[in-house]
Symmetry: C2
Subunit: 478 residues, 2 copies
Amino acid sequence: MADQKKMVEEITSMDEDFAKWYTDVVKKAELIDYSSVRGCMVFEPYGYAIWENIQKILDGMFKETGHQNVYMPMLIPESLLQKEKDHVEGFAPEVAWVTQGGGQELEERLCIRPTSETLFCEHYRNVIHSYRDLPKLYNQWCSVLRWEKTTRPFLRNMEFLWQEGHTMHETAEEAVAETEQMLNIYARFCEEYLAIPVVKGRKTDKEKFAGAEATYTIEAMMHDGKALQSGTSHYFGDGFARAFDIQFQGRDNKPQYPHQTSWGVSTRIIGGIIMTHGDDSGLVLPPAIAPVQVMVIPIAQHKEGVLEKAEEVKKMISGYCRAGIDCSDNSPGWKFAQYEMKGVPLRLELGPKDIEKGQCVLVRRDTREKAFVPLEKLSAEIPRLLKEIHDSLFARALENRESRTFSATTLEELTKLADERSGYIKAMWCGDLQCEEKLKEVAGVSSRCIPFEQEHISDTCVCCGKPAKEMVYWGKAY
Amino acid sequence: MADQKKMVEEITSMDEDFAKWYTDVVKKAELIDYSSVRGCMVFEPYGYAIWENIQKILDGMFKETGHQNVYMPMLIPESLLQKEKDHVEGFAPEVAWVTQGGGQELEERLCIRPTSETLFCEHYRNVIHSYRDLPKLYNQWCSVLRWEKTTRPFLRNMEFLWQEGHTMHETAEEAVAETEQMLNIYARFCEEYLAIPVVKGRKTDKEKFAGAEATYTIEAMMHDGKALQSGTSHYFGDGFARAFDIQFQGRDNKPQYPHQTSWGVSTRIIGGIIMTHGDDSGLVLPPAIAPVQVMVIPIAQHKEGVLEKAEEVKKMISGYCRAGIDCSDNSPGWKFAQYEMKGVPLRLELGPKDIEKGQCVLVRRDTREKAFVPLEKLSAEIPRLLKEIHDSLFARALENRESRTFSATTLEELTKLADERSGYIKAMWCGDLQCEEKLKEVAGVSSRCIPFEQEHISDTCVCCGKPAKEMVYWGKAY
C-alpha cells in the first residue's frame, strides 16, 4: 500500500510485444480501468478528457455543416430491429437482450442499441412528410453495445462511446454528397487534429456495413503496420426508407422515398492515437487533443519563491494553452517519467536558477529536444512548438506508412510480403468475393479499402489472374 | 400531407387542463417525440439543444470546483448491485435486466444502470489506496433507466439523461461540505440561469435516496402549485465503502474507510423550465439556455434588399447572442406564432420601412412588449433585454411561489388547504414516519423538504400534536 513514494513502473517495449506494450500504456497512463463486466470498461478522467476534446472538435465540424444533435432511446424492440433484412442479419448475433423489466418478463425482447439506424428511421417516419422537411441532418453522441467475443481496451470494447450521424435527403445525389462530405471531415479531423494520415476509399461488399449500399472508410496504419478502420460513412439508398415506409410528397406532388446516410467515429480512435504515436516511454499525444498540453514542473520546489513563480507561469500560459502543474512532493524525476507516460506534449521545468535568469526549460515529449526559453517569449514559443510537434508526429506517421506500403502482382508475391512484412499491400483485384476470401485464407489479409486514388499495379487480379477492375489495399487489421 | 402552408396548431389552455397543456407544449415546440418503447423518448434537436446548454453551464461549474468527468459501464452485474442492502432494495424493483447476449443465456443477469454508485465503488476500490489518492471528485454525463409504471415526457422518462457526481473523501466533514457545495451549485444554477427560485433543504428519511445517510434537495414550484424535486445531493457516510471494502491508508498509517457523496440533475429540469415559465402560447425559455435567443424575421421579404439586410443583421448580432433567422416562405404571422410556441426570448422584425429608418422591432416573448430599436443600438439593447427577461421571469416565478405558500398548525387546517389550494404548506413536524404517512393518506401531501431556513410556525406537530422538531414544506409533487 501507499505512503511510499510512488514509482513510475516500466512498460513492455514495443518491439518485444506490441500488444502487451499497448495494454501497459492504456493502464499506466490511466486511460482505462476494467470493470466486472467483460468488455465494459471505465473511461478514467485522463482517457475521458481525450474523448471530450475529440467530441468538441468533431461536434464543431458537424454543426458548421448544418447538423443538429438529438438523443434516441437506447432500447430497440426486436420487431423494429428486424424491419431491414440485411441489417438484422448483421447485428442480431451480437446484441444484448433485455427480457425482464420492473420485476416482470417482457412480452417482446428489447436489445441495447448496437447502432441506431432503426430508431432514427422510426422517428423520421413521424417527422418527414414533405420535401420541405428535408434534408434531416441529425447526429447523436451516445454509447452502443456489441457482444464481442474478444475485447481490447478502446479497440474492441463491448460498450463503446461514439457519434452516429443519420441523415435523410430528397435525392440520391444529395445523400451521396453527404456521405463524401462526412468522410472528408473525418479525414481532415484525423490529419489536422490527430496527426494521423489516412487512406480514403470504399469498402468491398464483403466488408461494408449491414444494410448499406456503399460504405466509405478512412484507414490508418498503426506503428506495427496493422490497419485501423478509423471512421466510416455509409450510403443506404432508399432501402431503410422502404422497409420503414418513410415517404414524402415530392416537388412533383408524388410520394417518394428519401435517401439515407449514416456515419460514425468511436472511442476506437483513441486506440489509434496510442498505436500511431506512442513509444517505449508511453503515450505521445497530438497537441490538439491532449488534456494537458504543457505540464509545469517546479525544480527544487522547497526553495523560496519557486512554487509561487511556477504557479504564476502556469497561470500566464493558460491564456494560450491547456496548462497543468504538479506541485506534489514526488521527485522531479518521477514527474518527468509520469508525464512522459501520459504523453503530455511539452514539459516546462522551472528552478531557482531559471527564475534568476527569467527563463525556463521546455522539453518536447516526441523528440526529447530541450531548450532554454526566456519567460517573455513563451507566448510565441509554446504555440510554435505545439504546431511543430503536430507536424513532426504527422510526418513520422506518414513515413512509417510509406515505408510499410508494398505492392504485389502475384499471389506468391503477396503471400510472401504478408508473411515477412507488416503493412499495406497494394494489389489489383477482379472484384470477385472468392478471390477476396482466398487472400484471407492463404495470406491472412483482408481488403482494407478500394482507395479513391487508384494506381495501376498490373492488368490482372493478384489472385485469379483474370482482368483486374480495381486496385485494393490489403492488410492485417485491428 | 404537406405542401399546404403549415399551420401553427392551437394548444390546450393551462387553466383548462394543465397536464394536457404540458404535453401539447412538449410536442408542438418539437422537444420530444415518442418511440415504440413505452417511456423511452426521442429528444428532438430543439429539446436536445436546451440540454446541451444546460450541460455546458453545469459542466463548467463542476470543473471550476475541481471535478473530472469519467464514463462508467452501463451494465451492472446482479451481484454488484446487491452489495449495499438499502440500495438494492430501493432500485432492484425498477431495473431492466439483460439476460441474453451474443446469442446465449448469461450466467448472471446484468441490469442497465438506474444510477451508478455501485460501479463507481467498484472502480474506487481499484484506485484508492492512500489518503494521497483523495479526494476523488468524479462526474459522468450519461443516460440511466428506471422501469417506471407511468411515464411523462421529461418528468418521468424510463430512460433519461443526467449527470451523476460521485466523490470520495478522507473525512466525513469534507464529504458533508461537498454535499452542501453541490447543492449550492444546483441552487445557483436554477436561479441564475433557469430563473427558477428554489427552496433548499433536507429530505426526510422516508424520501431520501436508497442507501444514503442524508439527501439534500432543491425544490421548485411549478405554475400549478405542484413541487418539482430539481436536483439532489446525497451524503453516504462510509456505508458503501464498507460494503465494497474500499480502504485507504490514513495519515496515521492505519486503514480507514473513505466518506462518499453523490449528486445529480437530470433532463427532468427541462420539464421544470416548461412548467415554471410557459404560458398559453407555449414555451417561454430563460435566455441563458434558449437555443435561439433572438429570432430574426424578415417582413415583406419578397421586396428587394430585405432578405440581405436581415441576414446582415443576424450575422451582426451573432457576435453577442445566439441568433436565428427564418427566411422560409411561411407568413410572418405563422413565424411569430411558431417562435412564440418555441419560447424564443426575443423576436426581431425587420421590414422595408425599418430598413429605410435604420431600425428594427424587438418583441419580448414573456411580456409581448414591443420596441423600435435603431440597429446601431442593438449591441447594447439585446443583452440588456435578455437580462431583463431573465429577471422578470425569476420575479414572476417567485411571486407565484409566494402567493402559493401557506402555513397550517392543525391537521384540519392542513387538509383544508391541501384540498382547496395548490402549493406549499409550511407546518411543524415531530419527526415520526407515522405522521408523515398519515399526512399523505389524509391530505395527499408528501414532505418536500426540511428547509435549511427554518421558521417557527407552532410548537407542536401538525399531525399528532406532540412537540415539534422541525418545520417542513408539504405539498403535492411531480
